[in-house]
């Protein structure tokens, strides 16, 4: 089988859910097990490099709140498509975090990596994370088309 439900059952993808304080989710976010592990083990301890009380963990919560509840994401640099845009690999962005993945369908994001922007820039990890997303997408059993192509934000959210 090649559905998201099947991938949830075999635990190759994990549906991300959180308390939205009374609002309902209108978009979906799936994580690889590796991303869930980082969220559970590392994200809470990461520090912001900015003069803010919003830790990377809080930034992640806020970004997920806006994403899941269907808020606009196209005017505050919360998303960025990587080059070449034909690959359809996107970054979700906060002040300190970068989340890599792709849109399986409009409003359905599959995250394959998350890390601090400072670490990614210092060690030039962008190509590696993009390649990781492409490889995962190629290997995961999902019904085609596996990706919303292109870099038009209105096609993905």
């Amino acid at each position: 089988m090649s559905t998201l439900r099947e991938r949830r059952l075999d635990q190759s993808l994990i549906l991300f859910e959180m308390n939205l304080q009374g609002l309902r989710a209108t978009r979906e976010m799936y994580l690889t097990p590796a991303v869930k592990t980082v969220i559970c083990t590392d994200l809470r301890s990461w520090k912001s490099e900015w003069d803010t009380s919003e830790t990377p963990f809080k930034q992640f919560s806020s970004l997920m709140d806006r994403y899941l509840t269907g808020e606009r994401l196209n005017f505050e640099e919360s998303m960025h498509v990587m080059n070449p845009v034909t690959d359809g690999i996107w970054e979700l962005i906060t002040a300190d975090l970068r989340i890599f993945g792709w849109f399986y369908r409009k409003n359905v994001f599959i995250a394959t990596a998350i890390n601090l922007a400072r670490v990614i820039k210092t060690h030039n990890l962008y190509p590696g994370y993009k390649g990781e997303a492409l490889r995962f997408r190629e290997n995961v059993k999902l019904a085609p088309p596996k990706c919303v192509p292109g870099g038009n934000i209105n096609d993905v959210v």
Partner: protein
């Protein structure tokens, strides 16, 4: 409660979402004013007598902002920042949250509503 919710406590989580939603409402209002009146961060900074980078960092989450700054930003945009704290109806209520500007899809029986909007 999901596995992610277990990584934090509900009060901290409520505060996190509140701060994020306030910032988001300000950004949405600025985006609307940019279309209507060509307002931008430089003009806001000039109006408030502060450096544009301060406004930029506060709006993109790289710096905290005070409640006073929220009201100042709203005022420059010709709007009023508004916060309402309705009475809790049930002792066992789990706080619910709503922003007034564009939220929809609330649970049908919220016990508590926080309302903040930039109007």
């Amino acid at each position: 409660m999901t596995w992610f919710d277990e990584l934090t406590n509900q009060h901290e989580h409520a505060a996190t979402l509140f701060v994020g939603r306030v910032r988001h409402e300000l950004l949405k209002a600025l985006d609307e004013e940019a279309v209507k009146t060509r307002l931008n961060q430089s003009k806001i900074a000039d109006e408030l007598g502060i450096n544009r980078s301060v406004i930029s960092r506060q709006l993109n989450g790289q710096s905290d902002m005070t409640l006073s700054r929220v009201a100042e930003l709203a005022s420059v945009m010709g709007r009023r920042a508004e916060l309402r704290l309705p009475e809790i109806r049930a002792a066992t209520a789990i706080p619910k949250f709503e922003t007034t500007a564009s939220r929809s899809g609330m649970d049908e029986t919220p016990n508590v509503r926080w309302n903040v909007g930039v109007r």
